[in-house]
């Protein structure tokens, strides 16, 4: 094989500098590159953001108000969409916005009282419509106070944390309208997986 070089001007000398182009050209040029590099990644992130905003998400428990059910640092998987079609049930562990600061404060509590019911706390026990409520999810040694009576309207729910001595809930900030309920905790993911229906 005979290899010859230098028969014509070296092609590598061709000048491809376009740095003197207009700002519009540069904008389109740069936009095209950014678009080409990121379009699928951005679309995936947008879909994830929509799923996270409207459908399902994960939060990390801060505090001990739901102990022993949830401990500080537990990872919880929750459904934001479930109450669009169904109504919250007694025993559901819900995520709610604090009615006094719905934008910035989010709590996780358990639904104890349903709309229209009368909730009474006396002698460290909970009574619903004058019937004592068995709460197997509580530590046996935990009592509920302070005493009080609340009559719920057709849109209100009475929520409490499972760690009664260390929980700010409806006993202190009153019953919660449904519009403040943001979703239902479905399962604990970490440190061990467990469905909330078993809690």
């Amino acid at each position: 094989m005979e290899i010859m070089t230098g028969a014509v001007a070296a092609p590598q000398e061709i000048n491809v500098d376009v740095s003197s182009e207009s700002w519009l050209y540069k904008l389109i040029y740069g936009g095209g590159i950014v678009f080409d590099l990121t379009k699928w990644l951005v679309l995936i992130l947008v879909v994830l953001a929509i799923v996270n905003t409207f459908f399902v998400s994960i939060f990390v428990v801060s505090g001990v108000s739901m102990s022993p059910t949830f401990k500080d640092g537990d990872w919880i998987f929750w459904n934001k969409n479930i109450y669009n079609d169904t109504t919250p049930q007694r025993g559901d562990i819900i995520v709610l916005s604090y009615p006094g600061d719905p934008t910035n404060k989010t709590y996780v509590k358990r639904i104890v009282g349903l709309p229209g019911e009368k909730i009474e706390i006396k002698d460290e026990q909970v009574f619903i419509n004058n019937a004592k409520k068995d709460e197997e999810y509580l530590n046996y040694s935990v009592g509920t106070d302070p005493d009080g009576i609340w009559t719920l309207t057709s849109d209100q729910y009475f929520v409490m944390g499972d760690n009664r001595p260390n929980s700010n809930d409806s006993r202190y900030f009153g019953p919660v309208s449904k519009r403040f309920i943001r979703g239902k905790a479905i399962s604990r993911l970490l440190p061990t997986f467990q469905l909330t229906s078993d809690m």
Partner: protein, 493 residues
């Protein structure tokens, strides 16, 4: 010839430059998001005085719904999107200082105290709370024993229409009150309608530019065009086939050698003649820098140094310009692609910016996000489908018809007898077969026996039949797609 490391191409190419770009983007987005969050929290809070055990706050709700606390206008505004004009305002939140008593004296814009609902909420260490109307326009919210960690909020629900918010807030309320199902429908309809429109547009244009499918085949190219020009006439787009065919054509013309190195490719300079077209010169300058030999490892190394190659873009541009000058296209196909790409990109980026803004502005579930996501998807659909918009002139359509007649000849299943002339014919038309998507059919026309490797093709194998030759050469299309063609700049014109 120096031996280079022979390695197979990875399934996913990993480019450090691209990683750097993504890392930078994530850093900017992360810092930006954090800054916005901090800003929002700082400006929306009332800062209480720290030098008194008893705190009295004068709060006024203006006619336009803005909230003024001790002369300080807050970012928070009366929410008029619900069934009442509502204010939920955390007055104290973990302030770090306790108060014996807190009075919040609220003045309403109208005399609506009797028809309003009001309450005070205190948690995390508030002894007692009470609230009382002190006139038909004023309410006194009271809390005692407020601890340093407490959160104290006041709430008032006034009859709808009590405040008259600015137009921007009315717009916000109107958007917030649109039902979620309406947003779902809009979000789905937008990309579907865009797709239907683009398909309809392409169909109508295709019918207007109908290309006659020839009955007869012609046994020679209708015109002495470079294969890349024939390819862009056929595909209306410069892709890997056009570049690969150009490389084989250059080899056939004696400008370069193609080396088969264990199913990998390398290129060797031969003599460049004076008849090289400008885009061919640029392509050669991309492959060879200073050395005589340019193997895949060297090309890949150069690719890794670039996100995109301006030279490869210039190759594509040169092919487009030449085919347009020949009168085959109404306007440069690259310009047509660019026009729709700009429209698509614009829709995509506007959708993205509005998506991010909506996430920050709307507090309730912002269903308008579905609309912006639909807009972004529509932008992508426009950019993807725009490449298929027909753009050929009458001359281009006639020429295309002639090339289809030649393609019919190339893909004819009838075998051709072996002869030295036919061997030359095979090599000569091979670049055209590649750009016309029929190289396999063209190769099948020739007998296996007595095949002689082209002079421009050098292989490690001592002897190769036609099938081996095709198996080793035809992957050059995917090789070019993976390496050179992928470097074409998306924003380049």
């Amino acid at each position: 010839m120096p031996k280079k490391n022979r390695r197979k191409h990875p399934i996913v190419n990993f480019y450090w430059r691209k990683l750097a770009v993504f890392a930078f983007l994530f850093a900017v987005l992360g810092v930006g998001y954090t800054s916005v969050q901090t800003f929002s929290a700082d400006t929306n809070k009332y800062t209480p005085p720290t030098d008194s055990a008893d705190l009295t706050i004068a709060l006024k709700i203006a006619d336009d719904g803005s909230v003024i606390v001790d002369g300080q206008k807050l970012k928070q505004h009366i929410d008029t999107s619900g069934s009442s004009d509502e204010l939920i305002l955390p007055i104290l939140d973990n302030a770090g200082i306790g108060y014996d008593s807190v009075h919040v004296l609220v003045t309403l814009p109208k005399s609506v105290v009797k028809s309003s609902i009001y309450e005070i909420k205190g948690i995390h260490g508030v002894d007692s709370t009470s609230v009382a109307a002190i006139s038909d326009r004023a309410i006194d919210y009271y809390a005692s024993g407020v601890g340093p960690d407490s959160t104290l909020s006041i709430i008032i629900n006034m009859p709808p229409g009590t405040v008259d918010p600015p137009l921007l807030f009315k717009l916000y309320d109107a958007i917030a009150n649109i039902k979620s199902s309406a947003w779902y429908i809009i979000a789905l309809a937008l990309p579907i309608l865009t797709l239907i429109f683009m398909i309809g547009f392409i169909t109508v244009e295709s019918k207007q530019q109908k290309i006659d499918i020839p009955d007869k085949e012609t046994d020679s190219p209708p015109m002495a065009l470079p294969p890349a020009i024939a390819g862009v006439l056929y595909h209306q787009n410069v892709g890997p086939r056009e570049i690969a065919a150009t490389l084989i054509d250059l080899a056939e013309r004696g400008d370069i050698y193609i080396l088969d190195k264990e199913r990998d490719f390398a290129f060797v300079k031969n003599k460049y003649d004076q008849r090289l077209l400008s885009y061919e010169k640029v392509l050669l300058s991309k492959i060879f820098r200073a050395s005589i030999v340019s193997d895949s490892a060297e090309i890949e190394q150069r690719i890794n140094n670039h996100l995109y190659s301006k030279k490869i873009s210039l190759v594509a541009s040169g092919i487009y310009v030449l085919s347009t000058r020949l009168g085959y296209f109404k306007t440069n196909p690259q310009r047509v692609h660019r026009k729709y790409q700009i429209i698509g990109m614009g829709a995509f980026f506007i959708g993205l910016v509005c998506f991010l803004l909506s996430m920050l502005i709307f507090t309730n579930p912002p269903y308008i996000l579905f609309f912006w996501a639909g807009m972004m998807l529509s932008g992508l659909i426009i950019t993807v489908t725009a490449r298929r918009i027909p753009n050929r002139t009458t001359i281009g359509q006639e020429m295309m018809s002639n090339w289809l007649a030649f393609r019919k000849y190339l893909s004819n299943p009838e075998k051709m007898p072996f002869s030295f002339e036919n061997q030359e014919l095979f090599q000569k038309y091979l670049p055209y077969a590649i750009v016309l998507d029929c190289e396999v059919a063209w190769a099948k026309r020739f007998s296996e026996q007595d095949f002689v490797l082209p002079k421009w093709y050098i292989s490690d194998e001592l002897s190769q039949g036609l099938q081996d030759f095709c198996l080793s050469l035809f992957p050059i299309v995917s090789y070019v797609a993976r390496s050179l063609a992928s470097l074409k700049e998306p924003g380049f014109e």
